[in-house]
């Protein structure tokens, strides 16, 4: 009897995980496009879970219902700029421009953090995101494949006047994660850690006083425009900013598997 209930308790986190759509990612050593002096570009990523898809309008609506301080109009401007959820018809009505299955956009970093914390999760770090995004359907690291780059660049070339596709339309990658490319930009926990100069051509020019202990950040793999653009985008943003093309998904440390309730 006790064993069965223990087994059932073990299942609960798994079921909850399936609901939220979490994919387990193995850790590993990995070559980042951000080549900081102290790491030489090699980054160790610990195993982590990542949501399979970006957070949708439906999911975000559920969050603001339960946490009214994050509704549009009530979230203070210091945490979310005035264009927060601008295209929703009302604070609790996403409306036709924000269908339930579309990724939620025009959310600030503070709001995304609050959402993830409410799921007992967090935003992924840049390294975790980069690690996950390197994969395609068959390989963990497809970045050297020009086809991978071209597919991503094709999205960057399309202006954002058109309506966003729904989440989950693109094929899952090797880890079972979808839509890391081709849908929306995504917040990461440490976007403010990208100590990148606004002028990309400063590579290797250490302005020592600007960033204390500044190690020169050079962007390795300059051919990988796809990732360079993502870095440029994230480093341009402040925590309260929102854009029409910026959403997020959550990450978490892997849950322990022995009989612990969620």
């Amino acid at each position: 009897m006790r064993r069965t209930s223990a087994l059932l308790l073990c299942l609960v986190p798994v079921l909850a995980g399936a609901d939220a759509g979490w994919a387990p990612l193995p850790g590993g050593e990995f070559r980042s496009v951000l080549r900081y002096e102290d790491t030489g570009g090699v980054v160790k990523v610990a195993p982590f879970d990542l949501q399979r898809r970006p957070v949708t309008n439906a999911e975000y609506l559920a969050f603001v219902k339960r946490h009214p301080q994050w509704q549009r109009g009530r979230a203070p401007v210091v945490f979310a700029e005035p264009r927060y959820l601008e295209r929703w018809t009302g604070p609790l009505q996403p409306g036709p421009l924000a269908t339930p299955a579309q990724p939620v956009v025009q959310v600030s970093w503070f709001a995304a953090q609050a959402y993830c914390e409410a799921q007992e999760a967090r935003l992924p770090t840049w390294s975790e995101w980069e690690f996950a995004a390197a994969a395609d359907a068959t390989r963990a690291d497809a970045r050297s494949d020009p086809a991978w780059r071209e597919r991503i660049l094709a999205w960057y070339s399309v202006p954002s006047g058109r309506p966003l596709p729904e989440v989950g339309r693109s094929p899952a990658d090797l880890h079972g994660v979808q839509d890391l490319h081709g849908l929306v930009w995504e917040w990461v926990e440490d976007h403010s850690a990208m100590l990148v100069s606004g002028d990309n051509r400063d590579q290797g020019d250490p302005d020592q006083m600007r960033f204390c202990g500044a190690g020169a950040l050079s962007m390795d793999d300059r051919e990988n425009y796809a990732v360079l653009m993502r870095v440029a985008m994230l480093s341009a943003l402040e925590g309260r900013d929102t854009t029409r093309n910026l959403g997020f998904r959550c990450a978490r440390d892997p849950l322990p598997t022995k009989g612990k309730t969620p």
């Binding site: 790491t39 210091v78 914390e117 006083m209 960033f211 204390c212």
Partner: protein
């Protein structure tokens, strides 16, 4: 019987909201809207909203930083020295550690002692790692942990008015204060004392 009734009345009085003490809501652009918990160099917990009412000069640092962080302390001291004693009384200085793992309360106290930082005006604070990221975002400070425990971080002094709104910032460090920043500090103090 009598004592109990008085105690009840006293309790009721305490329960009633006292006009004047009831806080008007913080403005939407106030940093003090962050409700997370901090603790200072004596271990006393506090929230940012408790600093309301006095303009603050805020910066982020960490105690094992050898390069710029001592300069941050010098810069804040420089601002202090440029004020009149009356002004100095009404300014708070808050330094938040980027490195709560290693900057425990004892460490903060040690730095405060070494640099002779008057605890009635200087607060050296630590908080949880997630909150550090949030405070940095609110103050516009960028930082990154290095493999060896050091940090890359942008260095700035940020001036908050008495309501916790960011009204000025400077990246010019050193004992001689940035004149524009100093002027902003004086202006904030003048506004605070007149209200």
């Amino acid at each position: 019987m009598m004592a109990l009734r008085w105690r009840l009345v006293a309790l009721l009085l305490l329960a009633l909201p006292v006009p004047g003490l009831a806080a008007t809501p913080l403005p939407g652009d106030s940093v003090y809207l962050l409700e997370d918990a901090f603790s200072d160099q004596s271990g006393k917990p506090f929230t940012l909203a408790e600093r309301r009412g006095k303009p603050q000069v805020v910066a982020m640092f960490y105690t094992s930083c050898r390069y710029v962080c001592p300069l941050i302390v010098d810069s804040a001291k420089g601002v202090e020295h440029a004020l009149s004693p009356a002004e100095r009384e009404h300014l708070g200085i808050l330094l938040v550690s980027l490195d709560p793992m290693r900057d425990d309360t004892a460490q903060l106290a040690s730095v405060a002692r070494k640099r002779k930082l008057d605890p009635s005006r200087w607060t050296l604070a630590r908080t949880e790692a997630g909150t550090v990221r949030r405070v940095a975002a609110l103050l516009g400070v960028r930082y990154r942990a290095l493999a060896d425990g050091e940090f890359n971080h942008s260095s700035a002094l940020v001036l908050l008015d008495s309501e916790g709104r960011v009204v000025a910032r400077t990246e010019r460090l050193g004992p001689v204060p940035d004149p524009a920043f100093l002027a902003a500090v004086k202006a904030a103090l003048a506004t605070a004392s007149s209200s």
